[in-house]
Symmetry: C2
Subunit: 249 residues, 2 copies
């Protein structure tokens, strides 16, 4: 048995999400079907570093899986990439030790969130950025986003009813800038783990702050109160990208 | 009767092209249906500056149409934009004189063609750039593309059997550069008019030159011989954008 780590990118538009579910199209199912074909019809289970929701994109999702025999990594990458549907690409494959686990090995994740503030929006980007055609003050959002950095209990920014007990996470970097070429706002968050819908809820709150309908201090208020009702709405999934995952060691 | 000029953008992916045709979805039909609704059910015909093929995108297509009474231009833009499908946007509307004609008034057009030279390609851009996962020497293409500038008979770069008699056109600017952020190649062509499939045929030839399978002198050879068989293949429509149209006066 040989274990492989693969970095994959996908367009989330036509997927119900990363995780396999019955009756809907998932990234996991497409990759497992392709691996099964490459593995002489024997099923192969993949493990992802994290799930992504419906419509959410990835440039750097990481998965691992086992194959009965060792293969040339670049040939395996090419074979997988060629046989997968057009909206999934295999960026890199490498052989790893049997103790590597995409989800449980310590890692940091970076998410990006794109907002098209144009009016009208860019039609080519309607599935790849969230349209927000209202006034936004970038400097207010840049001030507020800094309060998200550090170690906090993010209960107020996750979906209610989440099964995870410990909601303390560390965000090492949180920034928002305007792309000089596209004019889009780019929110970037790096950290050791994110709760369900956390990024989209943080962005939804920051947009309300940028639009002047919540004070800059609202981020602190939500963190301290741990009250989801004080945060902004959940931003749509189409602007969200799982950008990069970096493992320790 | 009041004439309006509108600048529209659209994602060509789900259209059979700009021009109205039976049984397939076209940009023209969607806009005419929407204008008819806004015009109390009375049909309105639109005239585009040019046609775009299936899969071809536009940031700056220009159309004109007549309405029986004068309307506030920004309200008309907003009304049209709101009621049109998501993949068409109305960027600007202005009232113009009755002698304005989107097609016949003298204008210059700029087309852009995006090539994703990555391996693997960017899955988010699969409908918005043409994937070319082979080696390309940018400097060879930059040298060759200059031969397209100027006034030439472009017979060798158009589809055979084109009805247009006069195939002499002037290209005022032809460049190719690599976008530092995306890594994509960006071909830009400005001129007083382009023949059917001309841009895609020029790009297909330039890619062969960049890949070393045609000499840099091939552009001159095709122009002088007027022989379509000496040009490269027609590049796919998904990388092509009608970027801007500028009218004289």
């Amino acid at each position: 048995m040989t274990r492989y780590k693969a970095t994959i990118s996908y367009d989330g538009t036509l997927f119900a999400g990363f995780q396999r579910q019955t009756k809907v199209r998932s990234v996991q199912e497409e990759i497992e079907k392709t691996l099964e074909r490459l593995n002489s019809g024997v099923p192969v289970k993949i493990h992802g570093a994290g799930r992504t929701d419906s419509g959410v994109h990835a440039y750097g999702q990481v998965i691992h899986f086992d194959l009965p025999q060792a293969r040339d990594a670049e040939r395996l990458r090419f074979g997988l990439d060629s046989q997968l549907p057009e909206d999934i690409d295999v960026v890199a494959v490498e052989q790893v030790g049997d103790d590597f686990h995409a989800r449980y090995n310590k890692h940091s994740k970076t998410y990006e969130f794109l907002v098209d503030n144009g009016r009208p929006k860019n039609p080519m980007m309607r599935n790849y950025a969230t349209s927000y055609p209202y006034p936004l003050d970038l400097s207010l959002m840049q001030e507020a986003i800094k309060d998200l950095e550090g170690t906090h209990d993010f209960t107020g920014f996750t979906a209610s009813g989440t099964a995870v007990e410990n909601k303390v996470r560390t965000i090492t970097r949180a920034t928002v800038n305007q792309d000089s070429k596209t004019g889009f706002l780019v929110f970037t968050f790096s950290g050791n783990g994110f709760l369900y819908k956390q990024v989209r809820n943080m962005v939804g709150t920051l947009l309300k702050i940028g639009n002047g309908r919540m004070p800059v201090s609202q981020i602190k208020t939500v963190l301290e109160s741990q009250n989801r009702n004080l945060a902004g709405p959940t931003a749509a999934g189409n602007g969200l990208y799982l950008k990069e995952i970096i493992y320790e060691d």
